[in-house]
């Protein structure tokens, strides 16, 4: 196996599982769940192999693959779309994160109660879409994978979700449909004006002295990109769909949604908005940082008054995505690094918390803070991990949340101290709402008898321990993330001219 086929196998290996599942009977619950889980493993192993390959000092370019694919006009030179996958430091980290969370979410999917076959087929299709998004080297391929995540999510929310699942599914579909529609316009304008959709070529052509795009067109495209990825991230006020999804989708899917899908927004902002339009990006960076502070505060304040723990986490996600925006808006190496750290850290933490929510719901049929009071009595282990996850989320030193928030704010304080100072209120609020919710659940007044409930058991330890381990690892040894990011960050900063 040559190295250049690694990425293709990595991206499409989940589809092998889909094929196998297609020929299984819907009633073989156990076998389906095992096949579903096994199908996520090749991608995980290959992703880790890529990571260690790069850490060993070898070149990520080894993995690049390129083949002719679509030729829109007879001409060989222009309007040609290649099938090209590749990695850089940033996408490598996202791929590893995706593979880990997908496998853990597959473990969490043991709580799914019906139609396992359809569920796992869509789940694996979703994983292929996500892996493809992070590895594509051209915009049209990126968009194709981006849309591939949309359809399975629609069905996963709409069929396996809670009471208002169809409403949530449509809300997801329409908001994200609009977002990707705007994205498609940007991609097609770039493609039509330059004749290529390769990201690297586009960076050269768009920023060349004789660019085929005028300054105002570039600005327009950048704003469109910000809106498109802003829906995904989500940036206030484009967030209402995401609350519904967090509450209505099954917890294993929310792990993926909150852990990875939201991060496509941040990834897109850094890779495309900042990468292709660096000049124009400088002009809007301040606005982004401002929007980030709004996100941070808005999410934190609303999280404080929620009754449902899932809603607390949903608003907490909005709040934490604000920190990503702050880091990006700071427009210096520290800030951007903080943003990427926050992407990874929040991905892990929210996956952990939503996994626990899934466990609680499975045992008690509720996720209301009030009804869960006194949980520590019946489920001491789960309650302990919940507390640990919350500590990571509020940025306790020694855990991943601290590193990322610290760096993002450090970046912002350099240029915009006032804004950053206002933003820190959000950090305090985070501690307040998380402790209120978690203490209310674990130690609050017991409304129910939890004596007979089962604590964490068997396979449930796998996601909890893995995620906890990674959170602490990043917290005490940030180099696991920062060393692969080094070159990618330097390239980004070079593009920004600083």
């Amino acid at each position: 196996m040559s190295l250049s086929s690694v990425l293709s196998i990595l991206v499409f290996s989940p589809l092998l599982g889909v094929t196998v599942l297609a020929f299984m009977k819907n009633t073989q619950e156990k076998a389906i769940k095992i096949v579903g889980l096994l199908a996520t493993l090749p991608a995980l192993l290959l992703a880790l192999a890529c990571y260690f390959h790069y850490q060993a000092g070898k070149d990520l370019g080894d993995f690049s693959v390129k083949a002719n694919w679509i030729n829109f006009v007879g001409d060989k030179k222009y309007f040609h779309v290649a099938y090209e996958l590749g990695l850089n430091g940033l996408s490598l980290i996202m791929v590893v994160l995706t593979a880990i969370i997908a496998t853990l979410a597959a473990v969490a999917s043991m709580h799914i109660k019906k139609e396992w076959k359809g569920y796992f087929m869509l789940f694996l299709l979703l994983e292929t879409g996500m892996l493809g998004v992070f590895t594509s080297l051209n915009l049209i391929l990126f968009f194709i994978f981006f849309e591939v995540t949309l359809v399975p999510m629609f069905f996963l929310i709409g069929k396996w979700g809670y009471f208002e699942k169809e409403k949530a599914a449509f809300s997801f579909l329409i908001y994200n449909g609009l977002g990707s529609a705007i994205l498609l316009i940007v991609i097609m304008v770039l493609f039509a004006k330059t004749g290529t959709s390769n990201i690297h070529d586009l960076q050269q052509i768009v920023n060349a002295a004789k660019s085929p795009l005028s300054g105002s067109v570039k600005m327009g495209l950048l704003i469109a990109l910000l809106i498109a990825f802003g829906v995904k991230l989500p940036i206030f006020p484009l967030h209402s769909w995401m609350l519904r999804v967090h509450v209505q989708a099954p917890p294993s899917i929310v792990m993926i949604h909150s852990g990875i899908l939201l991060k496509i927004g941040a990834f897109g902002l850094i890779r495309f908005a900042m990468g292709i339009f660096p000049e124009q990006f400088k002009d809007v960076a301040g606005v982004l940082a401002f929007l980030g502070v709004i996100n941070l505060l808005y999410g934190a304040f609303l999280a404080f008054i929620q009754k449902d723990f899932k809603m607390v986490l949903a608003y907490s996600s909005i709040s934490h995505m604000g920190i990503v925006l702050i880091g990006i808006g700071a427009l210096n190496a520290t800030g951007i690094q903080g943003a990427i750290f926050q992407v990874v850290s929040h991905g892990l933490i929210s996956a952990l918390l939503f996994f626990l929510v899934g466990v609680f719901y499975e045992r008690t049929d509720t996720s209301l803070i009030e009804n869960l009071g006194g949980l520590a009595k019946g489920m001491p282990l789960a309650a302990g991990f919940l507390l640990a996850g919350a500590m990571a989320s509020l940025g306790l030193p020694g855990m991943s949340g601290f590193v990322s928030e610290f760096m993002a704010f450090l970046g912002l304080f350099k240029d915009m101290p006032v804004l950053a100072a206002v933003g820190t209120i959000g950090i305090i609020m985070t501690a307040a709402y998380l402790l209120r919710a978690v203490l209310g659940m674990t130690f609050g007044q017991a409304h129910r008898e939890f004596a007979g409930t089962m604590d964490l058991k068997g396979a449930e330890f796998v996601p909890v321990l893995t995620l906890m381990f990674l959170i602490v690892l990043i917290g005490v040894y940030p180099s696991v993330l920062s060393s692969p990011l080094k070159t990618a960050l330097e390239t980004i900063m070079l593009g920004l001219g600083g």
């Binding site: 694919w69 679509i70 030729n71 829109f72 006009v73 007879g74 309007f79 049209i140 968009f143 194709i144 849309e147 591939v148 949309l150 359809v151 629609f154 069905f155 709409g158 069929k159 169809e166 449509f170 579909l173 329409i174 449909g177 609009l178 529609a181 705007i182 498609l184 316009i185 097609m188 304008v189 493609f191 039509a192 004006k193």
Partner: protein, 504 residues
């Protein structure tokens, strides 16, 4: 015209038309003499065989240099060849659907008529693709129209079918009259009906005053022909006609007849107005002047089609509005008048042929089994027949333009055309993409029924062979054109030489 001149023509280039004509005539005679009791299904198979033979004849001439006979009234150029493949292929699939069409009431007495009228309609469409003269063009158009009027009303005892035919005739009559009136201006100015002759005369038109007259002629021809596309403002007939007509006829109208409309519009408007200066020699062609009007109609068609579709509960009415919307998308390709215009129109029509006919195959099966055309009949299809549900899912995703399907590549092609050139159509393309998102509501509404809702009854479907073949071809083609679009694009690029012989 002496016999020798007649013999000197290259009649061979009309071979596909002759095959269809001969079989249509044969079937009409057979229908007269065959005993009433005998099943007319065999006509369907003969018809399919005829179409396959015509496709083979056409494929044999694929690299034939441009040729014309009968005083330039019939021409065989790259444009007519590649578009005739769409007409023939679409008709073959529709005939397969028709063979498996067994409605509860209404068509027993007129089965035979159905098949030969179908072939004459196809013949009309093919003549339109090849004609180089306003007269043959118009005759082709009328042959298609009149055959379709009867086809729409062929369920004699069904009141909806009758209503459908009636509305079709009246609306069709009005729009034909408008087209013809527009053409009369062109004839009046040039004194010829030959497209090449007209173009030559108009190119040297001295008096810029005539440009206004020609602008008027353009609008009348375009608006009249918009009827065939079911584009606004002549879209009103579509929902009623689609709903009342037998399902295979609806499929025919939405795919073959619509393609014929686009062929006609491209042929007439490009050859007449594409070269005519708007203001004295050397100025920009009238067609470019008229771009805004075409864009306006395209925008209105997309908005009307997609928005009104949201409120439909009858699946055939819903697909009528969806087909109006798709006409709007293709009009965007036409309005942008870019160098990929032919490619975009051709590819989108091809993609639309497969995705729409596949969807109609499922619609025909479900509505026939349930005796109702309500969307709610699709509830629980996933439980009753997972493969059927999966096929419908893929086709609907393609109609909604999701990547991995032909519909997406078609849209990308249209966007390339809309954004290239000095005058990018940002607004029009934005309308197109915004209305596409609107269309998610009703397309995913159908998917919601199929996959989320419980079924009223658990009976399984047995799928007739004809429908099974159509579905297999359509789903396979939709996916292949979506993942490897160059299978079709290369065919076109290799055999058309970028349509340089269009005006020769």
């Amino acid at each position: 015209m002496s016999l020798e001149t007649l013999q000197s023509f290259q009649w061979g280039i009309m071979a596909p038309e002759f095959i269809i004509l001969a079989v249509a005539a044969l079937l009409s005679l057979l229908d007269l003499f065959m005993p009433d009791k005998m099943d007319r299904k065999v006509f369907g198979y003969v018809g399919i065989a005829a179409i396959v033979a015509a496709i083979a004849a056409l494929a044999g001439m694929i690299d034939h240099p441009v040729a014309s006979i009968l005083d330039d009234t019939f021409r065989l150029d790259a444009f007519s060849k590649v578009f005739k493949f769409i007409l023939l292929g679409g008709s073959a699939l529709v005939l397969l659907l028709a063979v498996s069409y067994e409605p509860k009431e209404g068509m027993e007495e007129s089965r035979g008529e159905f098949y030969y009228l179908f072939l004459t309609a196809l013949l009309g469409a093919m003549m339109m693709a090849s004609s180089g003269d306003l007269i043959t063009l118009f005759v082709g158009l009328e042959l298609l129209s009149i055959s379709s009027y009867i086809l729409a009303g062929i369920k004699k005892r069904n009141i909806k079918s009758n209503e459908s035919a009636m509305k079709y005739v009246i609306n069709g009559g009005i729009s034909t009259a408008i087209t013809l009136f527009g053409m009369s201006y062109v004839y009046g100015l040039t004194g010829t009906t030959n497209l090449k002759g007209i173009a030559g005369q108009l190119a040297s038109l001295g008096n810029p005053q005539y440009a206004y007259l020609l602008g008027l002629a353009f609008l009348m021809i375009f608006i009249g022909l918009a009827f065939k596309l079911a584009a606004a403002p002549f879209h009103m007939w579509a929902p009623d006609v689609y709903q009342g007509a037998p399902t295979p006829v609806t499929a025919f109208l939405s795919v073959v007849s619509k393609s014929a409309g686009f062929i006609l519009i491209t042929r007439v408007l490009l050859s007449i107005f594409g070269v005519t200066p708007s203001n004295g020699p050397g100025s920009i062609p009238i067609l470019l002047h008229m771009q805004d009007y075409i864009s306006f109609i395209a925008g209105a068609t997309m908005i009307i089609g997609n928005v009104i579709a949201l409120r439909q509960t009858n699946i055939k009415r819903l697909f009528a509005y969806s087909s109006i919307a798709h006409a709007g998308y293709i009009l965007v390709a036409f309005a942008s008048l870019s160098f990929v215009m032919f490619d975009a129109i051709w590819f989108y029509l091809l993609a639309y042929l497969f995705m729409n006919l596949g969807a109609f195959a499922v619609i025909q099966l479900v509505s026939e089994k349930e005796g109702s055309e309500e969307i709610s009949q699709f509830a629980g299809l996933y439980k009753r027949s997972p493969w059927l549900a999966a096929a419908m899912g893929i086709l609907i995703l393609s109609l909604a333009g999701f990547p991995g399907t032909a519909g997406f590549i078609g849209k990308v092609n249209i966007f390339i055309g809309a954004f290239t050139g000095d005058n990018p159509h940002y607004v029009l393309a934005s309308i197109m993409i915004a209305t596409t998102v609107v269309s998610y509501f009703y397309y995913f509404g159908i998917l919601t029924q199929i996959f989320f809702r419980p079924a009223a009854k658990e009976t399984k479907f047995n799928i007739p062979t004809g429908i099974l073949i159509v579905l297999t071809i359509c789903v396979a083609a939709t996916v292949i054109l979506g993942i490897l679009p160059n299978t079709a694009l290369d065919f076109m690029h290799n055999h058309t030489n970028q349509f340089t012989d269009f005006l020769q």
